[in-house]
């Protein structure tokens, strides 16, 4: 009534309806879980003319296996991500990141699609999903496409696109998520998040992916690290090697000394964890 200024509310019950509305309304705002949208709305200088809720669209719901991939509907809530065996058991780092996201009511309301679409530099899920090889399904009136998540986030965001789902390759991977906050409070915006995954076989590590968030406006893939954490070589890696490897990406990651120290620490710990698996 008086807290928010007026706008027109729509709750389409199909994806095509939602895309039509996105296209023809003047200043649309997509509403997923509401934890970001309805919060930032009040402070925004660009007030929406129309708010389009995605809650009733069946094409965005569910978690299902599609061939060799797991499909997670973009309107899947964080608590569902935690509770589902399909996500939680196969992708421990995803479950870990979801468990650390916000507080209980936020986890009940927020969605995976909303988290990614927010493009806040500190969101946890984007980094983790990239490290797991995620691809994002994005739909607009013109096309439906599937693109690697890191590429999608590096692109300029479009107001006329709806993320419909996330695709994760179903592989046996070791996956970890390290998250640092300024205080012991998990609700604090993280100072650093490191998402890591790899395949561990008899010959050691392969297909290593390390992604870091909070340093730039989108998650950054660490390339230097990949070169030293491979095969069985990872077992002999020293702290100085780690530091050197990270600094190779220093330009692109813009890590400061404090975060660098945390990252080195995390990678040291990671190597211990990998040795123990």
């Amino acid at each position: 009534m008086s807290i928010l200024k007026d706008f027109k509310f729509h709750s389409p019950d199909s994806l095509s309806q939602a895309l039509e509305l996105l296209d023809k309304t003047r200043a649309p705002l997509l509403l997923a879980g509401g934890t970001f949208a309805l919060n930032t709305l009040k402070k925004s200088s660009k007030y929406p003319s129309d708010v389009i809720s995605l809650k009733k669209i069946p094409e965005l719901k569910g978690i299902k296996v599609k061939g060799k991939e797991l499909w997670i509907g973009s309107m899947t809530c964080i608590d569902e991500l935690i509770g589902s065996k399909l996500t939680g058991d196969t992708f421990p780092s995803l479950k870990d990141a979801a468990l650390k996201l916000g507080t209980t009511p936020i986890r009940n309301m927020a969605t995976i699609g909303g988290n990614i679409a927010s493009r806040f530099y500190w969101v946890d899920l984007s980094a983790v999903l990239i490290s797991l090889g995620a691809r994002v399904e994005a739909a607009s009136l013109e096309e439906k496409r599937i693109v690697d998540l890191d590429k999608f986030l590096a692109e300029k965001s479009s107001k006329k696109v709806i993320i419909t789902g996330i695709l994760l390759p179903q592989e046996e991977r070791c996956s970890y998520y390290f998250r640092h906050t300024r205080t012991v409070q998990e609700v604090d915006v993280p100072t650093l998040g490191l998402a890591f995954s790899c395949i561990k076989g008899k010959e050691g590590l392969s297909d290593v992916r390390a992604v870091v968030n909070t340093t730039l406006s989108f998650p950054v893939i660490l390339k230097g690290i990949v070169s030293i954490l491979k095969n069985s070589e990872y077992k002999n890696v020293k702290v100085s090697d780690i530091r050197e490897a990270i600094l190779k990406d220093a330009e692109s990651t813009k890590l400061d000394e404090h975060r660098l120290a945390l990252l080195v620490q995390d990678l040291e710990k990671l190597i211990e964890l990998l040795k123990a698996v």
């Binding site: 008086s2 640092h180 205080t183 409070q185 620490q265």
Partner: protein, 780 residues
């Protein structure tokens, strides 16, 4: 004796309720959502009010033009200083008249970002907001100063008329400190810095004002801890009589010292109602306004230089405190006094010289916040004490025990400590924490995680007089014909449980079941005077008034029974719902029968008990610091157990042991609740909270950036009572409100030192500070 009178049957009779954890009298309404707060109040025709606040930290007001705003449809009234007599008010007026420095609505000068200039009442929020933007104010910007030490410099911008912006200068000087320091075996100097903090009560400040045109009387509903204080300030600034201003406290969603005085929005809500012809006006703060424009904790720089002898005797404590008071005085003097005058309650010291300065700056107003200046002092002094003990290789617990004050002693500044369980608190804390086996010994949890324990002790005033000539509280008890009882108290329950405690005390003294008592509190038109809920005074002062009122009522009842039964009144008592003979507890009649007798044809005596209590203190001379400021003092010892991650610098408080001399607990559950709440608030101040400012503006005015402790951050808390049965306290009780907040920061800092060998002297203790200190230590 004929009893034709309906006898009241009470279910769940809790007799002799004092000392029992009876359910809170207001809990049922709160768990069902039925309890009404000023936040919920809706009156017919009610308008939305909003304050116009200065966007500048320091400026002269050249012109205020409300004409454009007045033309906006939906605006019903606009007020400025022109609409009332221009009279200043202050919150510490009685002892410090020079601190009366604030107009409710400014018209000459603004001194902080948020300083109130005008107010608007409109039909809805949006219109009120638009109207504010249409009020034209012409400013001449003045240089602003945001840092206390800068503000003290000779050429600094003058904020009020106080020279060098020194709002309050308070000395505390006894003995010969220089001689004592020279004779010490070990002397050390430390500087501690304390940040600001927010009260963060969940209910924001809310004022609902209604002016009755025909009688020219005001009713103000406000979220407050001190309705009588608000009335006093309203009467002064509006030039009205007290009896024409009714201030009503409903349920209050927390105060913690932030709601202890009249706010411009209280004043404005009533003035707007008057100007709109008697329509009620509600002004409510948003969370951002709460953080930015209400009150904050005094940031302080606390310097200490003290000496000890080899055997552990404290020889002298000297120091200086510089407090950043912000733009106006509020409770500044009390805060400074609490910051420098508590040390002699805790330690036997004859040479002590402290100077407290409260400096005006163009920051938001620093005021009272739980513990007054005792929290800042607690951190500085208790950290310093640990470092002194370490300097002579003495166990910090032993050191404190050696220097602790005793019962029945008078301190150097003439405080009369009667009941004093401090030494017992320390001994018990040592025992409960296995101090002797664990302190100073390596007890790492893992390679990365070190464990440490640390101690802090404190004392608190329980019935202090610092605000008015008298500090009396009053209670009235009305026993109705059917035996149900009303208790009228001025004490303001803001969640700490004073309503319940008053009911328990009354029931105990009167000899009846707790369930008979209904409490009506904190309504200036109906209840007797009470200064308010602060300085942990309510159980002791208001509790004694209540006990006296119950005693009076009981006396009236026994008078009549004695007359009727031809007995000696002095042989009778009322216990556990029965009138009995004191000597052998033999039954005389039931309480209900006694009431029926009082109201019978022959007697027709309306039972109205009156009680008054003014604590026995001596006036404090604030030029020296001498005087027994309180009727009672509480004491405690805390031991914190922490885990410190050497790699990340993160600190987790795993356990807090609090041993407290509370005299006697009126309601043990309530006392534990206050202790637990205070400890968690203390942990917040030490580790998570940090109200940050930039150029006079709060930088983090939201819960997402100002972190309160959450349920996932709490340690295991062991709360232990030491019962010393205060001779003055009602049933031996002293009280509990703030004390458990005082030593917490130091206990944690000292525990961190025990864990990893670094002493952080600057709050909040962040991982960065610990890592930096560890790095520096390694380099040494």
């Amino acid at each position: 004796m004929e009893i034709n009178h309906q006898i009241n049957m009470i279910k769940n009779k809790t007799v002799s309720p004092v000392g029992k954890s009876v359910p809170r009298i207001d809990a049922k309404a709160k768990v069902t959502g039925e309890a009404v707060y000023a936040f919920d109040l809706k009156l017919p025709g009610m308008l939305v009010g909003k304050m116009l606040r200065s966007p500048h930290a320091h400026a002269k007001i050249l012109k205020i033009d409300t004409s454009r705003a007045e033309k906006l449809p939906g605006v019903r009234a606009i007020v400025t200083a022109e609409d009332a007599p221009k009279i200043k008010f202050g919150s510490n007026e009685y002892f410090f008249p020079y601190t009366v420095d604030q107009y409710p609505l400014e018209f000459e000068k603004v001194r902080y970002i948020g300083d109130e200039i005008a107010a608007v009442a409109a039909v809805d929020e949006e219109t009120a907001q638009k109207a504010l933007a249409l009020i034209d104010v012409e400013y001449e910007i003045l240089p602003a100063v945001f840092e206390a030490t800068q503000a003290m410099r000779p050429k600094a911008s003058q904020i009020h008329t106080a020279m060098n912006n020194i709002g309050v200068m308070m000395p505390f000087n006894f003995g010969d400190c220089d001689k004592a320091l020279a004779e010490s075996d070990y002397v050390r100097e430390d500087i501690f810095t304390l940040p600001s903090a927010a009260h963060a009560a969940l209910e924001p400040h809310v004022s609902v004002g209604r002016y009755e045109v025909s009688t020219q009387r005001i009713t103000l509903w406000t979220s407050t801890q001190a309705p009588f204080k608000v009335r006093e300030a309203m009467a002064k600034t509006l030039k009205m009589e007290a009896a024409d201003i009714r201030v009503i406290k409903l349920n209050v969603g927390g105060g913690f010292g932030g709601k202890l005085e009249m706010f411009p929005m209280d004043f404005a809500a009533c003035l707007l109602s008057k100007k709109s012809g008697g329509v009620p006006v509600k002004i409510c703060c948003t969370r951002e306004e709460e953080f930015s424009f209400t009150r904050r904790k005094h940031p302080m720089i606390y310097k200490l230089k003290s000496g000890v002898k080899k055997d552990g005797t404290l020889t002298a404590i000297t120091g200086e405190v510089i407090a950043d008071g912000g733009a106006y005085c509020s409770y500044g003097p009390t805060v400074v006094a609490a910051a420098i005058m508590r040390i002699s309650m805790v330690y036997k010291i004859t040479n002590i010289r402290l100077m407290g300065f409260r400096i005006y700056t163009n920051n938001p107003i620093s005021g009272a916040i739980r513990g007054f200046g005792g929290v800042q002092s607690g951190f500085a002094v208790e950290s310093h004490m640990d470092m002194l003990a370490r300097g002579i290789n003495m166990d910090p617990a032993e050191f404190r025990l050696k220097n602790a004050t005793d019962p029945n002693m008078t301190t150097i500044n003439k405080l009369i400590l009667s009941s004093n369980g401090l030494k017992d608190c320390i001994k018990k804390a040592v025992e409960a924490s296995q101090w002797k086996q664990r302190y100073g010994k390596k007890k790492d949890k893992s390679d990365d995680i070190a464990v440490g324990i640390g101690m802090g002790v404190a004392a608190d005033v329980m019935g202090s007089k610092m605000y008015k000539a008298h500090e009396s509280a009053g209670t009235i008890i009305k026993v109705e014909e059917d035996g149900s009882i009303y208790l009228f108290t001025g004490a303001a329950d803001t969640g700490q449980g004073s309503d319940t405690a008053m009911a328990q005390i009354a029931a105990q003294e009167l000899g009846v079941a707790y369930e008979r008592i209904r409490v009506k509190a904190a309504d200036t038109e109906i209840t007797p005077f009470d200064t308010g809920s602060f300085a942990s005074r309510v159980t002791f002062i208001s509790g004694n008034a209540t006990k006296n009122a119950a005693f009076d009522a009981k006396g009236q009842i026994l008078d009549i029974i004695a007359k009727e039964m031809k007995l000696d009144k002095n042989d009778l008592d009322i216990r556990d719902e029965q009138v009995v003979k004191k000597a052998n507890s033999s039954f005389v009649m039931t309480f209900d029968q006694a009431i029926a007798l009082c109201y019978s044809f022959n007697y027709g005596h309306l039972l109205i008990g009156r009680g008054n209590y003014n604590p026995k203190t001596t006036p404090v001379d604030f030029r020296t610091g001498e005087g027994n400021v309180s009727g009672s003092y509480g004491f405690e010892a805390q031991v914190a157990e922490v885990e410190v991650n050497r790699k990340t610098g993160q600190v987790k408080v795993v356990k807090m042991i609090d041993v407290h001399d509370i005299g006697y607990p009126i309601n043990p559950s309530s006392v534990h609740g206050q202790i637990e709440g205070s400890i968690v608030m203390g942990i917040g101040y030490t580790l998570y909270e940090d109200l940050k400012f930039k150029e006079g503006r709060v930088v983090n005015p939201s819960f997402s950036k100002y972190h309160l402790p959450r349920s996932t951050n709490i340690p295991k808390i062991e709360s232990i009572f030491i019962e010393t049965h205060d001779p003055q306290g009602p049933f031996g009780a002293k009280g509990m409100g703030e004390a458990s907040l005082l030593p917490t920061a130091a206990a944690i800092a000292n525990a961190i030192h025990d864990a990893v060998g670094v002493q952080i002297k600057d709050l909040p203790i962040t991982p960065e500070k610990i890592l930096k200190a560890l790095k520096e230590k390694k380099a040494d």
